[in-house]
Subunit: 318 residues, 2 copies
């Protein structure tokens, strides 16, 4: 079993790599090679490969396909804040890069499984209280528009038999370890991560704001499950809205207080940011995710669980 | 007022050109120049221009924008049957051509009104009995996928202020004059057009099949209305499902019988075609079109009206 990960140097890419190395097999077959691709070098030891390049550049995707991957995790992408700030870069990476990869997959001719990282940011308001699976995506960001275009390509290329693709609309992934990224949702992680590190963190939105989240561990679980799922069960609608825990910021803070104490939670400062708040209010809040749940995709049920995953997986407090 | 029509040599493009020349004005201003673009030459007399070229080819779209059109009707495209038969051609014309045009519009910098011909083929089943405006498009054809990608581009480029765009999901346009085209929906017109011309016509689907249609005159009306509409009323959801008459094939035939007699209607032969029937069954049947109706888009209410339009506009029987 040969596996390709694009965006392998990113947070989810690294955790997915570690999970694949840990289990050693996919679809019941031993993993003989992991091909890790990113715009910067990912860590890899033989027999695994770390390849560096721009997916949208001519020949890059074809070069990856020469390794004949049977499962491809397409995680590469520019995040929401960056895609909004840099229009050309966003379209180049998120649209041209994805199409170049899919065209190289088509040219390779062996119809591999493709698991594509999409996003709940494909949705734009106004929303019903809970977003059903057949709710029309009308993005309010260039990132959402670009991911939606990738979804349309994935579904059509799958319908034509060029790949066996599945798109996963990830909820906000939280708690992200490391530094803040350029996503406008970055504060959902920062208000937990920084106080646990005894640093202050600014909260730009009201505490009663509700948002749907899943842990990085759940995200890796989504990708592995999607790689092994019988897609005959999925049919032509290849892009799934995934489940997550719908929690308020206040519930996040209460969980932090329970786990680390009130002194830690007091490091969160309410610093309203009208620009961030405007973006956050345009996001969907709660999803039915009926099909994904029926297909066996699982996420945490509470922020206490999500926080526990962070403590175990990233702070190594078991 | 300078107006550009892409796909101007097509059936709707020619009728739209004639309508614009007839009214002489758009948005209350005299039309000083019509720029008619297509892959084959459209008819034009000075001061109007007929330009020939491939929209996806480098420099073509920028060349069109040098004429500084303030309203652009983007009708150019490869139809459903052809996009399904020729994957590369469909993506080149319907996706690359559209993106090249939109990027040239962005580069021009004056944010013109753009009216984009989309399609109800963006929808794929299973469907509710009546498709609401916020129903998720999941195309079952490459044509539908390509038009959906154009919709996502249009909405994002409009949100960013590069254009003031509106996408129109046209129902099946019927009765099409002239010869059958490569669309799988072609028979909806052929069963009316050929018998009126005393020629037999094959009906590949059952007579109780219901489908939503509008006349070419209604389509031209949609485009003109969209060109003059205050898009502040439309908001961020720039792609509208349009109204039409939801009629069965039997109702089409009854209208034909009323207008031209039973002998003419008897020229329709039931010749089931499993391939066409499979495609047709995958199409949406009935739409709410709530927003479009509220915004003043109007279509015929019955097939009698649609047939009358054909008799008047194409057969010149008043």
């Amino acid at each position: 079993m040969r596996v390709l990960i694009t965006g392998a140097a990113g947070m989810i890419g690294r955790k997915l790599t570690r999970a694949l190395l840990g289990r050693g097999a996919l679809q019941g077959r031993p993993i003989s090679q992991l091909i890790l691709h990113d715009i910067v070098a990912a860590e890899a030891t033989a027999p695994h490969l770390a390849l560096v390049g721009d997916l949208a550049a001519s020949g890059t995707a074809a070069g990856l396909m020469r390794h004949h991957p049977e499962v491809i995790f397409h995680l590469a992408g520019v995040v929401s804040g960056e895609a909004e700030a840099n229009f050309d870069l966003g379209y180049r990476v998120n649209v041209d890069g994805t199409r170049a990869l899919f065209d190289a997959i088509r040219a390779a001719g062996h119809s591999p499984r493709v698991v594509y990282a999409s996003t709940t940011a494909v949705f734009g308001g106004p929303f019903p209280e809970e977003i059903p699976d057949d709710f029309a995506p009308t993005p309010h960001s260039s990132y959402g528009a670009q991911k939606l275009i990738g979804e349309a390509l994935l579904a059509d290329y799958s319908r034509r038999g060029f790949m066996d693709g599945i798109g996963l609309r990830l909820p906000t992934i939280c708690v992200r370890p490391g530094k803040a990224n350029k996503a406008a949702s970055s504060f959902f992680s920062a208000i937990i991560r920084e106080p646990l590190n005894r640093l202050p963190a600014d909260l730009p939105v009201p505490r009663d704001w509700l948002h749907t989240m899943a842990s990085p561990r759940a995200a890796v679980g989504f990708f592995l499950h999607a790689a092994e799922l019988d897609l005959g069960l999925v049919g032509l609608r290849r892009n799934l809205t995934l489940p997550g825990a719908a929690v308020t910021v206040a519930e996040q803070i209460a969980a932090l207080t329970r786990a680390a104490g009130a002194d830690v939670a007091r490091l969160i400062r309410d610093v309203p940011d009208p620009a961030v708040w405007a973006i956050v209010q345009s996001w969907p809040r709660r999803f039915a995710a009926t099909r994904a749940k029926a297909l066996g995709f699982r996420a945490e049920a509470s922020f206490d669980e999500i926080l526990q995953v962070y403590l175990e997986d990233d702070l190594h407090r078991v």
